[in-house]
Symmetry: C2
Amino acid sequence: MITETQLARFDSIPLDGGMTLEPVQVAYETYGELNAAKSNAILILHAFSGDAHAAGTDQESGGLGWWDNMIGPGKGFDTDKYFVICSNVLSGCRGTSGPSSVNPATGCPYGMTFPPVTIPDMVRLQKMLVNHLGIQRLLAVSGGSMGAMQALEWAVAYPESVAAAIPIAGTARHSPQQIAFNEVGRQAIMADPDWNEGNYYGKRPPARGLAVARMVGHITYMSDQSMREKFGRRLHDQNQFEVESYLRYRGSQFVDRFDANSYLYITKAMDYYDLTAERNSLSSAFENVKSRFLVISFTSDWLYPSYQSLEIVRALRGRNCDVAYCELPSNYGHDAFLVTVAEQAELVRGFLASTFRERA
Amino acid sequence: MITETQLARFDSIPLDGGMTLEPVQVAYETYGELNAAKSNAILILHAFSGDAHAAGTDQESGGLGWWDNMIGPGKGFDTDKYFVICSNVLSGCRGTSGPSSVNPATGCPYGMTFPPVTIPDMVRLQKMLVNHLGIQRLLAVSGGSMGAMQALEWAVAYPESVAAAIPIAGTARHSPQQIAFNEVGRQAIMADPDWNEGNYYGKRPPARGLAVARMVGHITYMSDQSMREKFGRRLHDQNQFEVESYLRYRGSQFVDRFDANSYLYITKAMDYYDLTAERNSLSSAFENVKSRFLVISFTSDWLYPSYQSLEIVRALRGRNCDVAYCELPSNYGHDAFLVTVAEQAELVRGFLASTFRERA
């Protein structure tokens, strides 16, 4: 499956912070065919560092999509049956408008003058894209980690437009530990003199700070056990352990594909997201929800532990929502949703089939 | 109890790396009185960022010792009964020779020319200090975290000189996850241009990098639950959560009392320490051990999880050593050994009393 990222442009988007971004561009990919009734569309929502290229082989770079093991013919999100869409989030750096985009008012990249963005803002842009593609109602929305936050927000903000939501390894709000790890990453970036208050475009980017931030992230995505299995205490050379060279490599590699200011904006959006905040409780937040739910978490995921998924499940059940929950066994930590796919794919396949049968 | 840090100087110390450090200085404090038989001495071993000031009120700064809740009259380490010693580790920055010390050969601080130091090197200097104080055999050695590594090393390297060892919240070797968190801290420091390959003495120190390193450390010392209880999602002001301002404060505070190069040296010593390495197994490492043991871990400590203490306990039991193990319930994570003291003090008190009765 050869894929190509496409762009959609809109005149403007209103933001939660009160500002309006104009114009706004969104990068997206689609896989499979939209049926005549336009009832088989699934929106995939990427995690913090993901992009629109969720599946297939990119025609330019040759790179495989970040969830290619879940999306494709005969896979969990079966492109023989469903029309699958994935877009890069607002404030991202992979084709959608973000801090590295040029501000038409100045002719220069926005940098830190890009307006603050929330998870609901990201979802609002996705809704505009879905409308633009002529789709009134999605069969399903699904994503892991930050993607799970967006899936929840879709079900809450656009209850008529989502038949089913599949939040995976997610939460309705970050714990202080999750905020703390993000804050370390932000501080590492802002401590790099090359960050220069966000004005580094066309100059040397804050590569060292961004690499350190990514190293912290990678540790939290793995589990103690998966790290022991993958690296043990093996030495890479006399002066470093394999785990050290791995993290350094992943850190430096990240710098080539990610923008440091987007790191700041997106992690802030995650940290400030709190479905319970305006509505007093999670149960109240789900008051008008009409979707059915499949909630998935993983045993070894200590960054987004199962109790956070269970909190969502309990609140939905309290609202008499149709909700299935599964905690899958895995040693891969938070990465499990990207790595451990056999059982996850099976769950998703069955859930989508019954949703399509009953609600499409 | 008003205390004062003292200094001992020795002509030289041979190091595991093959080099000799000359001269060498060690900062230490003592509490209580050495009995006539010199049989009531306990050596306290500090964790990564600790120092010789373990108990009482420092006569200069007025600061309380880092384990004051455990050491003093009537406390776990009862200074009415025992003579308690604590010294700053080799390569530290709180009075003992380290990278910030002046190299007599050049008249300038060593910086990164300070020789690499191992946990056994640290213990060797402690042995010299103990000899210097006229003590042949310690009643006990005890410490948490890196202090636990040193307690194990004492029992292995100087079996005739230790009646009892109390390693708390420790391990016989770092897991790749523990190495990885340390490596993030090191990379954060070395990414700071002010680090300047370690040559920053008399200039601006790498304060931003060291602060980021400390922030990561603090997250790993707490537990998910203790962070939820302490901070929740409360805002410090409109732009930051309380957990963020706490971490920033602790990070910036650390810069005033710790040397970045010592951070690099000490974390490397911890990461390379592996009691199983030269002797094939932990059981073989304990072959000549003569001490009795009290091993303590804490339920919510995910940085030094209980399975690491249990590994030590199993190996000691396999050698028919006298070993008691206790996993104490606590929500405080790795910090528990500094914070949760009631049960810990009780365990230590009883264990020391029976050791003194039977083995002193």
